[in-house]
């Protein structure tokens, strides 16, 4: 730098530390998020089974409810909870959830998902706080 010219110095050590924290979080987050999603799926499955248990005409249906393997990428972790149509009485899902013009519904999947939503949101908040130092 030429003598007499003004100069500016930037202290970027906090920015560098933040970058490292974000990189670390990005590495950890997918696997940790998958655990949270799996836990939520288990809770929804169990709750849905409980809500729809005891029906005389659909004794096997609750056992058809399960969830897919959790798919994880760098931007999402997802699964689907619901009845497996290949399992015994699994095809009754729509009829039970919504009812028919002749039979009332037995809402179980929707309410179970709604009941889990606040717990899931809280768990994700806690995960974010855990992997990103304050």
């Amino acid at each position: 730098m030429a003598a007499g010219k003004p100069s500016v110095t930037f202290d970027d050590h906090e920015l560098v530390a933040l970058t490292k924290d974000i990189e670390r979080a990005a590495r950890i987050m997918p696997a940790e998020a998958a655990k949270v999603v799996t836990k939520a799926a288990v809770n929804i499955k169990n709750d849905a089974r409980r809500r729809v248990s005891g029906l005389a005409h659909a004794p096997a249906y609750p056992y058809a409810i399960g969830f897919d393997d959790v798919q994880v990428t760098t931007t999402y972790a997802k699964t689907a909870v619901g009845p497996d149509k290949d399992k015994r009485q699994g095809a009754l899902g729509n009829i039970l959830e919504y009812g028919t013009r002749k039979n009332p519904p037995v809402p179980h999947l929707g309410p179970a998902a709604e009941a889990e939503e606040p717990r899931f949101a809280r768990a994700m908040d806690e995960l974010a706080a855990k992997v990103l130092p304050q």
């Binding site: 729509n94 009829i95 919504y98 009812g99 028919t100 013009r101 002749k102 039979n103 009332p104 519904p105 809402p107 929707g110 309410p111 709604e114 009941a115 939503e117 606040p118 717990r119």
Partner: protein
């Protein structure tokens, strides 16, 4: 009269205000070939599920009702016509329930028009689920 019944009455009244719409409450009791049959489902969300509507005492005061509206007709056109009338009557309407402050009715979920799976008869049914939430007021 129970709060549950009050909520049901308020929504059924909105539907019955449409003279061209045949409305059944939980059971088909007539011979109309196109109609809406309504099933109700009640939830009582506590502080976890409805923190913004729960008082600091923690008392459960929120009522969250779901109305499963089966819109039935002899073909897809008729079922969709019933569906449209139900939508016109309920969507975003704010019913009056004594002692309660109601939020506008919202569409929650639904199905496409399907032929009756139970009897495989020429009857078509589309389901729309509407939600009504209220708090004391």
């Amino acid at each position: 009269m129970s709060t549950l019944q009050d909520h049901a009455d308020a929504v059924l009244s909105l539907l019955r205000a449409d003279a061209a719409l045949t409305v059944y409450d939980g059971m088909v009791t007539g011979t109309a070939d196109h109609y809406v049959i309504v099933y109700t489902f009640r939830q009582l969300p506590g502080g976890d599920a409805a923190p913004d509507k729960t008082p600091l005492t923690g008392d459960t005061t929120t009522v969250d009702m779901r109305f499963y509206c089966h819109c039935v007709g002899v073909d897809g056109v008729a079922a969709r016509a019933v569906q449209a009338r139900v939508q016109a009557a309920l969507l975003d309407a704010t019913p009056a329930v004594t002692g309660r402050a109601c939020f506008p009715i919202r569409w929650v979920e639904g199905t496409q028009v399907l032929r009756d799976e139970e009897t495989l008869s020429p009857v078509f049914d589309a389901v729309d689920v509407y939600g009504l939430t209220s708090v004391p007021g």
